[in-house]
């Protein structure tokens, strides 16, 4: 995509604006690039799996007629799985796989959003509560909670400060000292001690 825009801007510079030819050429470049990309992905895919089958064949050729049959078969299987495992690892690390994964994720997210929007619309049309509404309420509660907890923390810090001063003056005057406040951290929301 980056290449296409560069070519377009070059064309604009040369022609002093966006030419008709340039406009027609852009989709062709896109198609060509996409085809190249697909071919590249296919080539990488073929390479990885070609190597895999090669390794698997090699694993199968370690046959010794003296070895007991189950052991031999297990050894062969283990070799095949090892080769397959290595190739999968290589494939899962390849940019082709990650690009594909990204596309899958993008599609899944788009589908989720689309279905979410649809259900929200349906629920609103039937005058019922949608997940979006619940989210909005939850977020409002969450902000309120944060504000309250922040305030409580400020108050705790102030009380600690006051206690420190009282303790200091208590030591001077011989009065008993005040207990300290809870160390920093959030206030318990809904504790249930057993």
């Amino acid at each position: 995509m980056g290449d296409t825009s560069e070519r377009e801007s070059d064309g604009q510079k040369r022609c002093g604006g966006r030419s008709e030819i340039g406009q027609r050429k852009a989709p062709m470049n896109d198609e060509q690039e996409s085809a190249n990309h697909t071919a590249e992905q296919l080539a990488a895919f073929q390479k990885i799996w070609g190597e895999t089958f090669n390794k698997m064949m090699q694993a199968g050729f370690t046959f010794s007629p003296e070895s007991a049959p189950p052991e031999f078969l297990r050894q062969m299987r283990s070799g095949i799985f090892q080769a397959l495992g290595q190739s999968w690892e290589q494939f899962l690390r390849s940019p082709q796989f990650m690009e594909g994964m990204k596309q899958c994720m993008d599609n899944a997210i788009a589908f989720r959003k689309m279905s979410g929007d649809f259900f929200t619309k349906v629920r609103h049309e039937t005058q019922s509560t949608s997940r979006e509404d619940i989210d909005a309420v939850m977020l409002a509660v969450r902000h309120m909670e944060t504000r309250v907890l922040d305030r409580v923390e400020e108050l705790a810090a102030q009380i600690e400060e006051v206690n420190k001063r009282l303790n200091a003056s208590g030591q001077n005057t011989g009065r008993p000292s005040q207990p300290g406040t809870k160390p920093k951290g959030r206030t318990r929301r809904n504790p249930r001690k057993k």
């Binding site: 007629p65 003296e66 007991a68 049959p69 189950p70 299987r77 799985f81 397959l84 495992g85 999968w88 690892e89 899962l92 690390r93 990650m98 690009e99 994964m101 990204k102 994720m105 993008d106 997210i109 989720r112 959003k113 979410g116 997940r131 619940i134 989210d135 939850m138 977020l139 969450r142 809870k182 160390p183 920093k184 951290g185 959030r186 318990r188 929301r189 809904n190 504790p191 249930r192 001690k193 057993k194």
Partner: protein
């Protein structure tokens, strides 16, 4: 010159093996129909425990043990927000918790619970400075001690590290078990897949709310697809006539498939700040209004890592000891995987007794 006998022997061996294997396969097949019922009977947690504290969905389990605690400082297990914590107390002979209980430690385990859609806004701050802070306070109060020891596993280790850096005065010893600290490594597939250019965590969390359990499960399976999807079932079938092996397999599979979602905001912060920006090792990790500075950790630390960990590679945990100010620090690298580090035979025989010794000298 080869005789007819020499030529005939391998063939006879093949025939004999074929019959033996066929008989074994018949025995294995006969076990399969009862698997479902046996899977239903799998017990979650082996050591006797009681719930001593609850907050929202969180529960704190206390393991009273047969005898009173021998060490003053209580020990708190902090498990990850992914999966259930009973992996640490899976079954008799494969329980991490029982090692510590039997050695006389006052042992607690945090079960974070399963977040619902309503919990999607919970952040790392809520877990570290909220829940974990409250649990540590509760345990300190209960045990009558100024501080407690923390043992964090995986993501729980990362959170324990953050807590210790923010509240060092409340932590006496810190034990990390396969904890992600330095996310710059590209050794692990998760680190690769979570890169910003391939994974837009904001879009994902905005669309899904919480990170779905199925998504996490699929990601973990994809780390080793051949082993998880092909080799494991075959290996299981080969041991299907061994009741002990079946029991181990079912217990493990029950835990592996007992997935829970991760609260959306926690997931967003974890991916963005750690996997993508690697802020923890730069001492820039924001947790609410605070910033985690690993240099503030001064307590004794024991960093246990698994050599063959595909989830949290060694390289991700290794730098921890060099980033803290503790003078008493130790690393252990075990030839095991992420789960084997806790419940594997070698870990049970060597790592946990050694860890108990280490902790007993400091409790």
């Amino acid at each position: 010159m080869s005789t007819a006998n020499d030529i005939g022997n391998p063939w006879a061996r093949w025939q004999e093996s074929f019959l033996t294997e066929s008989a074994a396969n018949a025995r294995r097949l006969a076990q399969l129909p009862s698997l479902y019922q046996r899977a239903q009977r799998v017990k979650k947690g082996a050591t006797p425990s009681e719930v001593v504290y609850e907050e929202d969905r969180l529960k704190v389990l206390h393991y009273p043990g047969k005898e009173p605690a021998r060490y003053a400082t209580p020990l708190i297990f902090v498990f990850a927000l992914v999966n259930r914590p009973y992996i640490l107390d899976l079954k008799m002979g494969r329980s991490v918790v029982s090692h510590f209980v039997d050695r006389g430690f006052d042992t607690y385990l945090i079960d974070w619970g399963s977040p619902t859609y309503a919990d999607r806004h919970l952040t790392i701050d809520d877990h570290v400075n909220g829940y974990l802070s409250n649990v540590v306070d509760f345990v300190r109060e209960r045990a009558g001690t100024p501080n407690a020891s923390l043992l964090g596993y995986c993501m729980g280790g990362t959170m324990s590290t953050m807590f210790t850096a923010l509240h060092q005065e409340r932590v006496k010893n810190l034990i990390l078990l396969a904890a992600g600290i330095d996310f710059s490594t590209r050794e692990g597939l998760l680190n690769l897949w979570a890169q910003q250019e391939y994974f837009d965590v904001d879009k994902f969390v905005d669309a899904f709310g919480n990170c779905p359990a199925e998504f996490l499960q699929a990601s973990f399976l994809m780390l080793k697809p051949v082993q998880n999807l092909i080799e494991k079932p075959i290996n299981f079938f080969e041991k299907a006539d061994d009741p002990e092996a079946i029991d181990d397999f079912l217990t493990m599979e029950t835990w592996l498939n007992d997935n829970i979602p991760v609260a959306g905001e926690v997931y967003r912060e974890f991916v963005k700040f750690l996997y993508q920006q690697n802020l923890l090792v730069q001492n820039k990790m924001p947790v609410g209004k605070h910033t985690v500075d690993l240099r503030k950790i001064t307590c004794p630390v024991l960093n246990i890592m698994a050599k063959n960990d595909d989830l949290v590679p060694c390289a991700q945990s290794m730098p921890f000891n060099d980033l803290v100010s503790s003078k008493d620090r130790k690393s252990l690298v075990i030839p095991a995987g992420h789960i084997g580090l806790a419940i594997g035979g070698k870990a049970q025989r060597e790592v946990w007794p050694h860890t108990c010794d280490w902790l007993s000298e400091r409790s």
